[in-house]
């Protein structure tokens, strides 16, 4: 006969030794990304967002468009065209703009871009279905890719893709990242090009969270 502790110890089993912690780390990172995004949303909701509309972005989500040189024409995305057209959402400047999408709100910490077809909420505090550009000091995590001499980190969580890259020399130090819904017609290559075209200007402030 055993005492209770020995018996419980027997009931505990061996605990499956040797389990690779990789999956635990991946789950934990994904949870951190989700929490950061929630915190960002909450923080942004606390700010007085200034909506601006019609910042020189043309309407229409289209099918695949003809590819042309990014320096002067369009970049093909799957379902959404990125137009090589600079627009200013101070303190952020974009070298490419998604055709058929417009800036809904801009703050020193973020810019929100929405489709012009009215399919998403008009509330600036609701980020479902929207493209959000953020500036912060959060860690870079996810899958790392190189493009045009820059490093980008790509993650996916709860139906959204997050891409991030350190700001360039001469820009405020930090991380610029975008968040966009999967299935909205964006493809990875085009969105990397879009993120690479984002310039962070003086006056940008890092979001908290």
């Amino acid at each position: 006969m055993n005492d209770l502790r020995d018996t419980l110890d027997l009931a505990a089993g061996d605990g499956h030794p040797g389990t690779d912690p990789t999956a635990d780390l991946a789950r934990a990172r994904a949870a951190l990304t989700r929490r950061n995004r929630r915190r960002y949303s909450t923080g942004l909701a606390a700010l007085a967002l200034v909506a601006i509309g019609g910042v020189g972005v043309d309407l229409a989500v289209s099918g695949n468009a003809p590819a042309t040189d990014p320096s002067g024409g369009t970049v093909t995305a799957t379902g959404v065209r990125l137009v090589a057209k600079t627009f200013d959402a101070t303190p952020y400047t974009f070298g490419l703009t998604p055709q058929g999408w417009s800036v809904q709100a801009q703050t020193p910490t973020a810019v929100t871009i929405v489709p012009d077809d009215g399919s998403v909420s008009t509330s600036e505090n609701d980020f479902q279905g929207k493209l959000v550009i953020m500036f912060d000091a959060n860690p870079l995590d996810g899958r790392k890719v190189e493009r045009d001499g820059r490093s980008f980190w790509i993650g996916d969580s709860s139906g959204y893709t997050m891409m991030a890259t350190p700001t360039l020399d001469g820009e405020p130090t930090g991380v610029v990242r975008i968040q966009f819904p999967n299935g909205a017609g964006w493809d990875e290559d085009s969105m990397l090009a879009f993120l690479g075209s984002v310039h962070v200007g003086d006056g940008a402030q890092q979001g908290v969270g």
Binding site: N2, L4, D9, L10, A12, G13, D24, L25, R27, P139
Partner: protein, 174 residues
Amino acid sequence: MRAAERDAEFVHFTRTHRTDLVRMATILTAGDPASAEDLVQTTLTRLYLAWPRVRRAESRLAYARTSLTHVFVDETRRAHRRREAVMADPSRAERPVPVGLDFGERDAVHAAVRDLAPRQRAVVVLRHWLDLDVTETARILGVSPGTVKSQNSKALVHLRRALTPYVTITQEST
């Protein structure tokens, strides 16, 4: 702290102590491997999110065990309420281990633990497997020492009845 540093420390902790947490979760879930794994995964995720606090803890494993206990109590609360509606006192669960049947001692213990309410299971694990005192057990569970004693007493009455063929539960255990 930097992400790489957090990741490295988390991986080291997981590699070192995941087994300890799975074993504790196995008792808490009365031998249900899927539920035990769920508990551990949820706990590890919570630890990662709170890693700046975890790394300051005097004992990271103790912090993790406390977190695992909270996850377990949280996630079983609804089932616990349903259970309490039909069987408030586990000593009423007349489910003696059928001596001589072909399931072993481990299964018998799991069956006996399964008849305990979640908080009673937690008390048994903390008091009798981890050898924590009443005060520390009460602190982890967020209840009074009196509640721990009461829950412990009821749990042991049941375990004594259910496990008599296998285990000696002395009066001092209470």
